[in-house]
Every structure is written in C-alpha cells, then in structure tokens.
Symmetry: D2
Subunit: 415 residues, 4 copies
C-alpha cells in the first residue's frame, strides 16, 4: 500500500494548476458576466481550449485513447487529482475537453461506435469541434429506478421512431451541440429481461420532432449550456444511429457511469477544498464581538470536521479509481456507488459550513459558495439519488453476510 502520487502525476498536477491560475482563473469573471447576460461564453472558452490542447492538457479523462486520437492517456487514478484541480472552477473542464456529458458520450462512442459514427461524432468530439448531450432522465417517472423509462424507440423498417419526454439533457443549448444520445424502450425484443429492453440512439440536433422545451433552472440557477427539458415527437433517425447492440442501453449506461462518477466526485472534492480556503481566509480576517472568527471554537470545529471528511472522501474516491484501473469498472460497481453517495453529501456539508462563516455574503452571488452548495444538493440526484446507492451498498453487504450466516454466533455471550 502506498499513499503517494507518482512523480509524473505530481508534475502533471503542477502543470495543470499553473494553467488554471494563469489562464483560466483570470477569465472567471468574464465567463460569469457573459453567462449572466445569456450568452454562451465561447469567446472565453475557445481560445483557452486551443491553449490547453497545445499544452498537452487535452482529453485527459480517456484511458483508452488510440495513437491517432488527440489527448493524453491517463489511468482513472492518474486523472482523478487533475479532475480535483479542474473542479475548482465549474466551467473549467470544458477547456480541457473533459466536461460532462461529453466525456461519457466519448467513452461510450469509443467503446462501440461504428466507423461511420466514429467519423461523424466521435472524432469531432475528441477534437473539441462539437458538443453533445445525453437524454436519459424523464420527468414522469422515478429516476432512481431506470427500468421505469417510458420513451419509446419503435422500429419502422430502416428507421427508429422515437417518442418521449426527457429532462436534465445537459448541454443541449451549447452553441456547438450537434447531437444527443437518447435512451428508450425498444420494441424489438419485448420479452427480454428488464435490463435488456432499452437501446441508445443518436439524434442529431435539428432532426424534425426534436424540441428543446425549456432550460430548467437548477436551484434557480440557469446555466448557459442548459439542463434542458426536451421532447421527441415522432423523431425519425436511421437504424444506423443506434449505439451498440439493440437492447444494450443499460450496459452502455453502466459503462459511462463508473469513470464519470469518479470525475464528478473529484470535482466535488476540488470544490470542497476551495470552500475550505475561502472559509479559512474569511475566518482569519472577519471579526465579531472583538475576536476573529478563527478564534471561535465552533468555527474551528467546522474547519476541522471539514478537513477530516474531505481527506477521507478523497481516499475513498482514489481507491475506487484504482480499483477500476486494476480490476475493471464492473468490479468497482459498489465502490462507485459509495463515492457518489459520499461526495455529494460531503459537498453540501462543507459548503454549508463555509457559507455560515461568510455570513450573509455567503448566500449572495459574490462568492462561489451558494452555487457550490446548491450544486452539491443537486449532485445528490445526478447519476442516481442517494437512496439508490445506499440500497445498492446495503444489498451488497447483506449479500456477503448471507453467505456466512451463523458466523457471528461465537461472539454472543450466552452459552
């Protein structure tokens, strides 16, 4: 066992941190200003993308990159601390072509795209020319149980006809967004097991019948790229737009979730670290009743609890990334549920404390805290609500206990 990042990785962290400090951070306010005015801040992002590509900080999230694909191939473990650094500025990941949901889409396409799909969709995604979105969650059913999905994908000859309503299609309003991947119930194998009845299909933006209904604010926060509600009304695409096998929807969804959750979690941790820095600095400089806030024992308790909670969560995430690298995504399934659960709860907790140290300023847009707190709350639903993960972890634990039933008898004191 060894808790030290490799020297290479530490070097990469330093490079990325410098890039963030020199290039990204100074653009933070301009990005915000544009976004607040309703314009997607391409004017800020595109030049930074060019710089990042040049600096070799590109597609860092995709371990399986081929030689002819742009980017640095890093293990999940090696990418994790970089995601933590990127996470400090919510919009920064795109600069490195490492932002959701494109990362997940690239992973899935990398896994199963046909040569045509690769050329039309994957290559321009990998180069950052286009963006994409992912349409899975539906407003009318509990997202915690994905077999509830009601969108239909009906086959008619060489076409699929898609009908349904989705929301949280993140990125649909991005000016470069060119397609969404939609998950629905296929009519091709109605008698298959519940987890083999769904397919994924690529729907190009602009296909007749596809409509962006609205940009759903999350906790009153509108993002310029949108977490959109979209409808599919007799949307027709060729059968060749199907991703992978017919009925492989769940298998593909699982594939994208493992690494994606590691990314989300490490970004969360980066945001918690930022909150720590803000909270400590505020506590050291703000006075109430004649003392600095940093001299109050309750504020100290918040800081200390945050520190030990963040450190524990990071170790758990890194272990999950290591497990994925060494044993595969499937072996890490429960570990990935665990980190998803832990990181979102951590973020709300740490950010809540940081806001409290800031006083009323903490709830204004003058610091990143109120956004990060509410975002942490939203994270408790993204990729499945807490309860789905708690259930998965518990069932796994109970399953192991069932196998050794009776083994604790010797610990009872009664003869």
């Amino acid at each position: 066992m060894d808790f030290q990042y490799s020297e290479d990785n530490l070097q990469m962290q330093r490079t990325l941190r410098q890039f963030m400090d020199r290039h990204v951070l100074p653009q933070n306010r301009e990005w915000q200003r544009l976004a607040d005015s309703g314009v997607y801040p391409s004017a800020v992002v595109e030049p930074l993308k060019a710089l990042a590509k040049e600096a070799g900080l590109w597609n860092l999230f995709l371990p399986g990159l081929r030689d002819d694909e742009p980017g640095t191939r890093l293990s999940n473990m090696a990418y994790a601390p970089l995601a933590e650094i990127m996470g400090r500025i919510p919009w920064a990941s795109e600069v490195f072509n490492c932002n959701a949901p494109d990362t997940g889409n690239m992973e899935m396409l990398h896994l199963c795209a046909t040569p045509d799909q690769r050329e039309r969709w994957l290559d321009p995604l990998l180069s950052g020319e286009i963006r994409s979105c992912f349409s899975m969650t539906e407003p009318d059913v509990a997202s915690s149980d994905a077999t509830n999905i009601q969108t239909t994908i009906r086959r008619e000859g060489d076409e699929y006809v898609i009908n349904g309503r989705k929301w949280f299609s993140t990125g649909a309003l991005h000016p470069l967004c060119r397609f969404t991947i939609v998950m629905g119930v296929s009519d091709e194998s109605p008698d298959a097991p519940a987890h083999q009845r769904h397919s994924m299909v690529i729907v190009p933006i602009g296909t007749p019948g596809f409509e962006i209904v609205r940009n759903v604010a999350i906790m009153h926060h509108h993002t310029p790229e949108g977490h959109c509600e979209v409808t599919f009304n007799n949307v027709r695409v060729p059968v060749s737009h199907r991703l992978g096998e017919e009925g492989a929807g769940f298998a593909l969804a699982q594939a994208r979730l493992g690494p994606g959750r590691v990314h989300h979690c490490m970004r969360s941790i980066g945001q918690c670290e930022l909150a720590m820095e803000l909270m400590c600095e505020r506590a050291l400089t703000r006075k109430a009743f004649g003392k600095h806030l940093s001299d109050y024992a309750n504020v100290q308790d918040w800081i200390a609890h945050s520190r030990v909670e963040i450190d524990q969560a990071r170790l758990l995430v890194l272990r999950a990334a290591w497990l994925m690298d060494t044993h595969g995504n499937k072996a890490a399934r429960i570990d990935v549920s665990a980190i998803k659960l832990v990181a979102a709860l951590l973020q709300t907790r740490v950010l809540d404390r940081a806001m409290q140290v800031f006083g009323a300023m903490g709830i204004t847009p003058d610091t990143p805290l109120s956004f990060l707190w509410t975002w942490g709350r939203a994270m408790r639903f993204f990729d499945g609500p807490d309860e789905v993960h708690l259930r998965a972890i518990a069932r796994h634990e109970l399953g192991r206990a069932r196998e050794s039933l009776g083994s604790t008898a010797a610990y009872y004191n009664l003869a």
Copy 2:
C-alpha cells in the same frame, strides 16, 4: 395551561384559509410569471389587497392599532397561526398588509412617530398605499455584531448627512416604495455606551445621494421587490426625519425584532407544513422498484421526524408569542432568539427531506421546494445568524447557572 386556540381564532383561521384558497392561490402562477419576467406583480397584488381589506383581513399583525387606523387588532398569539397560513405562499403577506419589512417599520413608527411622520409615512403604510424598506445590514462588517455598523449620520445644523453602504434592503425596488429607514452611527453622542450611539433616520426614495446599486440575488433567486444593495453618499435629510430619540437606534431595532421574528417563524412553519403535504402526496403517488415511496421505511422516517419537529417548533413559537403578549417583548428576548434559531434550521431540514422525496423534480422550479429550502438557508442569517442566537441563549443559561453555583454538588456520587 391550555393548548387550544380560542374559538374566535379558529374562525379567523378558517376565514383566512378560505381567502387564500379562493383568491390568492389561483393567482400564484400569474404572480410568478410576472415576477419571472421582471415586472412587479402589482396587477395581481393590488386587487387582492382591496379584497382583503374588505374581508377584514388587514394589518392583522399590529396589536396596538388605534380606532382610527384600519385593521384588526390581534395579539401576537392570535396573529401567529394566521402568519402560518399566509406563509404558505411567499408573496401572500403583502395582500394582507402584513409583509416584512413594512410590518416592522409600521411597528416602529407606531411606537414613536411624530404627528408629521405619522401622517406622511405611517398612515399610507397602514392603508397599503405605499411601501418602505429598512437599511441596516452592511456588507463590510459582521452583521452578527450590530455595534460594527459603519454608516455615519452626521448632524449639520438642522440636517443629517448620511454616508454608508447597506445591503439586504428588502423592497427597495417595489414600485410603491417611498422611503427607507436607515440605521447609522450618530455623531451627536460619541461617548454614549456602545448600544446608545446609533440613530434611525427616514430617507425618502429619490433623495439625492441615495442609490440602489443592485438587486442582490439570494441563492440565485431574484425577487421582484429586491434585496438591494444601496449607497448613501452625502444624503441630506431634515433632522425631523429622525425616528425616535437620538441614540435610540438599538432600542427601536429591538422593538421591531420580537414580533417580526414570530412572523418569520410562523411563516416558516407554514412553509414546512406545505412541504409535508407535498412530500406525503408525492410519496403516495410515486413508485420506485415496485413500491410506492410511502412504503419505504426511510421515507416514513423523514415524514415522522418532520412531523414531530414541526409540532415542537410551533409550540415554541406560540409560547414566545404568548410571552410577548403577557410579559412584554423584552421578557421574551431569549425566547425570541430561540425560535429564530429553531425555525430556520427546521425549514432547511424539512425542505431537504421533501426535495429528496421528489427526486430531481425537487431541485427544479416546478415545485416551491427548492425556493423554500434555499430561503430557509438564508433565514439562518436574517435577523442575525444562528451563532448570535446560540450565544445569547447560552449566555443566558450560563448566567442563571452562575447565580446558583454549587447547587449541583449533591448529585455527585463521591462523598
């Protein structure tokens, strides 16, 4: 001891509930639509105000109303359950002329306005013709310790010259807003004790040097009436605009806080009850993994804990209101700190659970939950952060213990 509302009060509650259901609730979406489009929804509110006045549901909050003033004089105790009902719709209180910060301003004016001030400011407030705001909190100092206030009120002959920056001046953007009451450090008695050095002065909207800098979003939520940042730049008003005695700023601030906090707390409780109704209905109708959410023991736990927490908090608030009615606001000082602390924490807790039952829908604007949750968080700062109230309660408790030091000795087991 008796835990039953009086028959009169129950009747008043029924009347108000009917009014809310018949007149206010049906306008909820229109109000929201207008507010979202940046227009103050006077078109909705003004007709409702006329109706409410006619129905005798007017100025219910002000126990000391005189015969020649419009409104129904109710004790704090009698008003409390009505505030709970109004609280279910965040904008409803204005319909009954019972909204902050005007209520607090009316209370203060009622207490100490000169005949001129009464005629010019109080009477039109009582009739609902104008609105007002209150400028106390400052961005640059810890609001937890009000002696930090830096805004200056300098006397020059018959005028006051005011300089400073305030925020959270709620209502400054209301189309009917005609004045703010500003609190600042007076230069008239520099050697007075720390709590007798501040005065309050009426500043009419439009006075040169007074500027609304921005409408500060709270948790990304912009309200149409504004929680504004305002500046006073050599603002000059006649000395006759001072409220009460010179140096009486803190005494007046205290006076407004007691009842105002009861109102806030009961509105919180009304919002928690609404969240309970939403959460239960959702749990009864939403399914995951083959069962209704209401059949899951964790969801049941959230509901049950919410029920007992709400009931306890309401009793505490009612007792504080009763104490104010029977022993005066000052005697209830610690009790009022207690309810302020309890209600805001309650609101975040109950709303958090309700959101979780709703799944992703809970974080969208499609339900009132995300607003009420973030508003509950903000409530933890309004009228003083948690820590100020915890400190006040603890010091009071420790003070009592100090008086009877040694009294616990007999409970130790050591001889």
Copy 3:
C-alpha cells in the same frame, strides 16, 4: 391557548421540589451505596414513603382515584411537571408510589380489577405495601411488533397454564414484589383478529413453574430491583387471575401506555434539566488552555441547542398530556408515540453533550451522567423502539394526506 401552569400546580411543584431537596437528595449516596452492595435500599426508601404519604405526595399519577383510595388525584397535565421533578433522581418516584411498572399495573387494575383482585392486589399497591412487575417483552421475537408474542396461556378447566420466556420484567427482584402481570396468546379464541388474541393474567410470585432466571444488566448497569429474565414453565393460576376480558390484552396494554409514556418522558426531561445544570456549572468552573469551558463557542452551542431542544420537547409532552386529559388516551395515540420518540432521543443527545463538557469524569460513576446517557439509549427501546413510533406517526400523516390527495396541485408552478 395559555402556557402558564396553574397557581395550584406551581404550589405543588414547589412542595415537591422542597421534599426532594430536603428528604430525598440527602439520601442519594446512601441509596447508591446500598444498591451497589447488592441490597435493595428499603432502609432508605420506606421511611421516605411514609414521609411522602404524610405530605400528601402520594399516588399523584392516578387521575381516577376514588375517595376511599389514598393519594392526590391530578390530571395527566398536572402530574407531568411533578414527574419532571421526581425524574431528577432515578429512584425517587418510588418514594411517592409513582414508579414504573407499578403505576401502569395500578392503572390497569383500576380500570378492570374484580373486587377480589382489587382487594388482594390493587389496594396494597395503592398503599405501597407491595410491588409488582409486568412481563411482556420476549427475548426471542421483535418487540416492535407485539403480535409476535409467543408465550401461551392455555385454558384447562378453571385454570390457565402459562408457558413462555420474558425479559425486562422490571422489579421482579424488589423485596416487596408479590406478582407479575403476564401477557400471552390465549387459546380461547384462536380465530379472533390478531389484536384480540392475547390476555393478561396475574401470576403471584412463588407460583410453581415461575422462575427468575437472571437480572439482566442494561448497559452494564445492574439495578437492585432487577430488569429480569423470567420463565413460565407450566405455571398454573385460577382463571379468576385473568385481568379484564379474555382477549383484551392489547386493549389493556394500550391503556397503560399512554400515561406511562408521559411519565417516562417528563422524567427524561427532568434528567435533561439536571444534565444542563451540571454541564453549565462544570463549564463555568473548568479551565482548558487558559479559558473557562463556558467561554468556548462550541460548548456554548451545546448548551443553547440543549436548551431549545428541551423546551420544545417539554411543550410537546405537556400538549400530549393535555390531549389525554381533554380528549382521552385514544385520541392522543399518535401524540404519545411522538413524545416517546422525541424524549429518548433528546436524553441521549443532551447527556452526550454534558458528558463531553465533563471530560473523562463524565464516563465514570462520579456523576449521574453516564448512567443517564446509557439509560436514555435504553429508553429508545422501552415501550417500543424508535422505529415503531416513527412508523405509526408516518402512517398517520400519510393517512391524512391520502384523504386529500390532489390538494397540493395548485402549488406546482407548471401550468
């Protein structure tokens, strides 16, 4: 609504408090010394009982006392604050003939005893000549669901034959204990609904086949009167020993639980108040790192949170007592579940904080804290575990929501 104890009640509280301070508290260490040496402290308790009876502080818990029965008839509401005062010393209730489980047994006997039962069992209980115990919980089944009870009560002619194993039969080792009331499944009406198949039967101590197996320590704490495991091995008693109707076991159990839970809860609150006094006194006198503990903001937070939690819980308990007095025990069923849940959790929370203020001393027998903390934890099981009460409260709330399904629709923002 009125939050003031009546003048009579305040007088009774003063009288009781004086009695406790003058007579009971000075015997606390001697009681403890005897109990630790394994002797039931009758030498301490009996003289105090005589004094209490003389002072008119006797059987205060039983509202329905007849003129020819000794004691002061008080409503549940009037008794509640007295139970709070008695609760400060865990063994004090017996001094006033107000201790569990005798109180519950007296209530049940009062309700349904035959003249013979009354003369033989109730009268000497009311006079304090004898003690009793109650055998309900069984080690082999989940006590949360009382229909699980397995002890059998088989009728053979004019006799019942009882077989089973019970534990937590409190008081079985008391030197004056003369009988237990056992609850079991009757064989007389096997087809009755699940809640009408159990009977209660009086079993005199000494009946052949009845055996006290052991005194079960609770959290390593042995009480001299015992929380005993007992067995019934073909125990035979005449049919006339049945309490109430055949099949009425559950109805009787419910009858005893309402008031009993109020008593438990108010004693809990008395113990929390004692913990507050100890905690404050310790904080005021103990120094660490150059400051009194009372000057640390985290210690202040613990004190303040404890204060508001205790005050809220007390109000909830008093309201439940008031509801029982005014609407009957059945109407208060859910309220009684609520206070049972709240009080036990409160006790562990407040005591935990008090222990922390005491440092290592808090976990020794030198203060009452470690006992009261662990006792609070045990209270989370007595009269049903938390989960049973949470479930009852939630189902009640959901039931009300089901009746008005659809009523929240108007609060959604979607058209």
Copy 4:
C-alpha cells in the same frame, strides 16, 4: 498510489485471523465468565500467550525490535490491519503482547531506557512476564490541556519524591503489573518552557506511598485489570528511575501517542466491522411486521452509511500509519489527531446503529454491542478529548491559510 496490502501482509492477516478463530474466540466466554466473577482471567490468557509466541505472533507492534528481542518487526502500516483483527475481541491484544498501555510503555522504554531499566523493566515486558501501567490523567484538571498536570516530582538528593492523584491508570490491578510510569511537574527546571517542565518516572508497584484507591468503572463497566484511581503520597524512588531526560515528559508522551493511536483506531475499526457482521446477520434473520429487518430501507441506510464510513476511516488510518513509516511520527502529528477523532466518533455511530437493529437485546450483555458502544464513547476522551484534536487540526489548517492570505481573492465574483 496503491491500495493493495502486500502479499506478505495478507498472509500474516490470514495467519492471525486463523489464530483468533481457532484459539482466542473459543475462550471468549470463559474469559468473560472469569472477569465477571472478579478474577483476572490469567488461566485463559497465559496459555494463549505461549501459543502466540510460538506462532510468531508476538510484539507485532514494535517496528524497532532488535535481533535479541522477541517478536516480529512490522511497520506501522503492516501492523495496522493486524490490530484491526485483534480488536474484534477486546482482550485479545494481550495474547500477542500488543495491548495498551504496555505497548506504549515498551515503545518509550525502547526509546530511552538505560541498560538497567531495560533489563529490569523492558525485557520482561517484551517477553510478557510482567505488565505495567501509565499514570498521566488527573481527576482535578482538564486532561485536554496536559500542561495542567499538578502531580509534583520533587528532587531530594538522589531521590524523587512524588505527590499527586491520577486516574485511568489502566492495568494497575493486573496480577502481573509491576510498575507504573508517572508523569509530573519536575522542580528541577521551574523556568523551562511549559512543555519542558514535566518528567516521567518509573514507580514500582509496592513502593510505599503508592496506593490504588479504586477501580473506576467506565460506563458502569468494571474491567478486571482496572482503570484505576491511584495516589502518590510522598512516594520515593531513586533518580535512576527517571525515564529519559529531566523535562522530557511531553516529548516522551508524544512519542508513545502516535503509534498507540493507530492501534486504538484500527481496533475500533475491527470492532465496527464486527458490529457490521452482527447487524447484517440480525437484520437477515429477525422479522417485524411481516418482513425481515434487512428489507426495511432505514435499516439498509444504516448498513450502507456504516460501510462507507468505516471504509473511509480505515483509509485515513492507514494513510497516517504510512506517513509515520515514511516521514516519521512528528510529520504525522495532525494526521494522528485526525484518526483519533474520526475513529472514536465512528465507533459510537456504527455501534449505535447495530444496537438499534438488535432491539432490546442490544442493550444487554448478551452481545458485545453495548460494551463496544460505551467503549467508543469513552474513546472520545482517551488520548485527548475530541475538542483537543479538532483544535489541533483547525489551527494547522488556519496556519496554512494564513501563509497564503489573499489567494482566494480571484474566486470572488465582484470586480
């Protein structure tokens, strides 16, 4: 970074687990029976010690063992998972000569014993022939601030004269206990800095003036070896009994704490894992209201939260052990505070949940749960209360923030 135990270490874990299962666990009840009867269970322990020594499972905790000393030298990292296994049975560590406080005493003696001290005290400790105790905490001062220590060590010629009162001298009643190490204020350098005024001195059991006052029950639990209160009344020992330099008391105390805390924490984690096994098995086999407890979502939540909390805590402890191995105990100071804080809180939390799943049985001595829960609570004081560690962690974090003050400015949105 690598999260895999080495193959050697895994083998050692298997060996130890087998030894525990085959030899220690079967003696658990007999050990308990003897201890409950007031006899130190040497009859059980001594034969097991012989077996363990033979099996090469001896003194595993001491990395620096010399070739002529018995035992297996393991790094802190390698020992940690073995401590976890030993921790499952509270008395098991002694079997492997790895029990507190002897481990800490051996570490200190190993560090600084003179040849005479080594021969007389260290060698027999290493071979398990004798036991020892450690007298630091005092009843009269806050243990959180060790500079409060009042016991005096006065030099008179070639002797030290010791006066004071200590408690929590664990092991003083062990039949093999031969000495205690006492910490006190030396009179030799009264003007030294606060942390260089204390010395440690060896006091042989039986020295006149040394008295064991009582065996202090912790949470009502008496251990046979005793957590004793002891007095030093003009106790005289030769100056050669001083451990290390005069004034080196704090330095030595720090030295023993690092590894000792890792041991404590890993034993805690072992106990939490045991609680998990018990809780899962109980949930799978116990029914209430027609369902197994394992089918209730709240029970599942408890299990899942416990799993992720335990896993996180273990990683944190292992990282601290790794840091001690690679960077020294001093570099790991804050990390050791962190694990001490985390592990004790974890133990109370996990055990609390496990008890709740067991129902009333959980609070009886029939399972190890009630002991482990209360022991976890006591752990929150051993080696310093939570607050000392929170304070240390916060001050460290604030110290780092102070160095880079101003660095967060770029994250504020205001221009």
